[in-house]
């Protein structure tokens, strides 16, 4: 990193990694950290010592990512862990999720905030069930960029035909994915470092960039919705002070589109119109606000607006309905989804009650087939439901806007998060 303030030009990429037990995911993350100088000496010393105590022959880079004692004892990763590294170009947030079959929910969680999914395939085994499942979940959660790392190329003598074979296999299957707009294949060896940070000299037939270069340059600027203006009101700021006697500001995070001072707005659900008189970021006035900025909007007219309401543009309104259709992933191990069951829903800054009116189908995450016969919904099941809410939601299809198309289902008794959902 340079001493100049060029960090002001850095942006951020969130990506998710998923992999099977032995496909080298931890080694790859270890390699990325090591080669970008993101492992520190005290961390390395700590895992060297742990490796020795465990009797591991080599320094076990997985120990860097397997944080909790319970995991180290069992030798598995049981939850999403977030990891950070940066290059002068970008800050990276990795949602590192385990690849075990029972942990679909963690993959869904990690994918929900990611711009890119990094999928590892063992060059010797090719596309396996887990590869399909990871890809399907990334696609379901609206990830537009997938980087397929064909790993362990050193074990297939760095042969181009081995790479080509996996590429063809994956491409066949990927034609069924709906949202992915960019698919990139990179032959690597995480263990030896080929094409991770530096270009491999063992695979001169590969003309693309190494993985880190791809991660630094993949364009995600257009992933956010800057078309449909949506502002869910989070909190109303009323200072109650002499200086700001009549101040009423609507605090929130822009969930889509752009809001400018002077714009006509429509408040939902009241249906009142007004104009934006001021936009504040902290105590500074700004001319416009866009997703995902957290700002405070002031209006010319005094209208009654509270948390859960939404400011939009009169000529571009969201869908408004109490009858909803969604794809969901069930998280709870102890509770099952029940038709006719009543739950709480959290959608943008709004909470509502919901009753399940129909369980439409389940999806087999391996074959991607719909199953309309077995509608028993348990942990890690993905499928489609219809439900009715106690009041209308203002929403967009998840494919059009992640912020206004996503929701969670909460148990009204235990307050546990039972499921995540994506509106259609």
């Amino acid at each position: 990193m340079s001493t100049e303030k060029d960090y002001l030009d850095m942006d951020m990429l969130r990506f998710t990694t998923a992999g099977s037990v032995d496909d080298g995911k931890s080694t790859l993350i270890g390699r990325l950290f090591h080669d970008t100088k993101s492992i520190f000496e005290d961390q390395l010393e700590a895992i060297e010592e742990s490796s020795r105590n465990r009797g591991d022959e080599n320094v076990n880079l997985a120990l860097l990512t397997d944080g909790l004692r319970a995991e180290r004892e069992q030798g598995i990763t049981i939850d999403v862990a977030y990891r950070y590294f940066a290059t002068p170009k970008r800050k990276f947030i990795i949602a590192d999720t385990p690849g075990h079959i029972q942990y679909t929910r963690n993959m869904v969680t990690g994918a929900s905030t990611a711009n890119l999914a990094l999928i590892l395939v063992d060059a010797r085994n090719g596309v396996v069930e887990q590869t399909r499942r990871h890809s399907f979940i990334a696609d379901l959660l609206g990830i537009k960029h997938i980087a397929v790392c064909i790993n362990k190329m050193d074990l297939v003598e760095y042969r181009e035909d081995a790479y080509e074979k996996v590429l063809r296999q994956y491409s066949d299957f990927a034609s069924r994915l709906e949202n992915v707009s960019e698919l990139t294949f990179i032959p690597i060896s995480a263990l030896k470092g080929d094409n991770v940070v530096d270009r491999s000299e063992n695979m001169t037939w590969y003309k693309g960039p190494p993985l880190l270069y791809h991660l630094e340059n993949v364009y995600v600027g257009s992933d956010a919705n800057h078309v449909d203006s949506r502002f869910p009101v989070q909190w109303v700021i009323r200072p109650h002070s002499d200086k700001h006697h009549d101040f009423r500001g609507f605090a929130g995070r822009v969930a889509g589109g752009v809001f400018k001072v002077g714009d006509e707005i429509l408040a939902l659900p009241s249906g009142f119109n007004s104009k934006i008189s001021k936009i504040l970021l902290g105590d500074k006035e700004i001319d416009e606000a866009f997703s995902p900025q957290s700002v405070t909007i002031l209006l010319e007219d005094e209208i009654d607006i509270s948390r859960g309401d939404m400011l939009v543009k009169p000529n571009n309104q969201p869908k408004i309905s109490q009858d909803l259709d969604a794809r969901i992933c069930w998280f709870s191990a102890s509770k099952k989804l029940v038709q006719g069951g009543k739950y709480l829903i959290k959608h943008t800054t709004k909470s509502a009650q919901a009753m399940i009116s129909e369980i439409t189908y389940k999806v087999d995450v391996n074959s991607l087939r719909k199953n309309e016969d077995d509608l028993e919904f348990g942990m890690n099941d993905i499928g489609r439901i219809k439900f009715r809410t106690s009041e209308p939601l203002f929403f967009d299809a998840y494919r059009r806007n992640r912020n206004t198309g996503s929701f969670i289902i909460i148990d009204p008794f235990t307050h546990q998060t039972l499921a995540s959902g994506m509106l259609r």
Partner: protein, 301 residues
């Protein structure tokens, strides 16, 4: 069309403000844990941004071990005055006097672990249902799995196997009787982000973070400042060195580093070149490999 992009610091700022506002909206009695360390200063600064021009709608809570650097307390008091917030201080000494906490004895005695007891007592006596903390996931392995909204049971305990999945920016603050939350708006920040943000926002930090001359001793590979809480032992040599702190906690276990970094630009350069993490100088983490996980389970920040 204009390019609607935010740099990494703007994205982190927006996320933290969103989380602070969610906390105000979803809880009845939140408190902001303010230690006078850099992370809690940045969090407090962001809280001011989140609710401007209104005052921050929750009190600051300081769990005071009684072993603080004098500079920390001075900074705390000035900050609280400047921002016009209410400060609640929980004293570890009170817990010791009451008999709910027992002072450690022996060579490296520290009150660090006792903070958990006093924190839980303070939460209890003020009925806080959420405590905002400046914890970051990059600090330590156990924290990498921490949520923004971290659920604690009625004993204040963290159960890593029973954390709620956290998706998109939908935070579930629902809770049962006696349960409460820790909320971490800076979850996605790294140490470097903190320094860079302080620089671009021109945030004043305590002078302990910048190079100054100080008497130190070397103990177990850590440079400790000589204060009334840390007195040199027989075989320890007091040296005057130019040092600064990367983290500031209890004076008994916060190590200094040799440094000439006089301002934030120097610090950013130094941290970029550093080969050890900031917690490398924290004696409290060196006690055992799972030290942080154990302390968290008992209700530590």
């Amino acid at each position: 069309m204009r390019n609607y992009n935010l740099n990494h610091l703007q994205q982190l700022e927006s996320e933290a403000i969103y989380v602070l506002r969610e906390t105000a909206a979803q809880f009845e009695r939140p408190g902001l844990l303010f230690s006078g360390g850099k992370d809690s200063i940045i969090m407090a600064y962001l809280a001011n941004k989140a609710f401007a021009p209104a005052k921050i709608p929750f009190p600051f809570v300081h769990v005071d071990t009684g072993h603080n650097f004098q500079e920390t307390i001075q900074y705390r008091d000035k900050f609280v005055r400047d921002y016009g917030v209410n400060l609640i201080v929980g004293l570890v000494q009170d817990s010791i006097d009451k008999g709910t906490a027992t002072e450690e004895t022996g060579q490296n005695a520290s009150r660090n672990a006792l903070q958990s007891v006093t924190l839980l007592e303070t939460i209890d006596s003020h009925n806080f249902d959420a405590c905002l903390g400046g914890g970051r996931r990059d600090e330590e392995k156990a924290r990498a799995k921490e949520r923004f909204f971290s659920h604690r049971d009625a004993f204040g305990q963290w159960d890593p196997k029973n954390q709620r999945p956290e998706l998109w920016n939908l935070f579930n603050g629902g809770k049962g009787q006696g349960e409460n939350f820790r909320v971490f708006p800076l979850s996605n920040w790294t140490e470097m982000d903190i320094w860079q943000y302080a620089k671009i926002e021109n945030i004043e930090l305590p002078n302990l973070y910048f190079a100054h001359e100080r008497e130190v001793i070397e103990r177990d590979g850590t440079l400790l400042a000589v204060t009334k809480f840390v007195e040199p032992r027989e075989n320890e040599r007091v040296q005057k060195q130019t040092v600064r702190f990367r983290t500031i906690g209890d004076a008994t276990c916060t190590g200094a580093i040799l440094s000439n970094a006089k301002n934030l630009d120097d610090v950013i350069t130094e941290v970029a070149a550093s080969r050890v993490t900031e917690r490398g100088s924290r004696a409290d983490d060196k006690r055992s490999e799972a030290a942080m996980e154990d302390r968290k389970k008992q209700g530590y920040f």
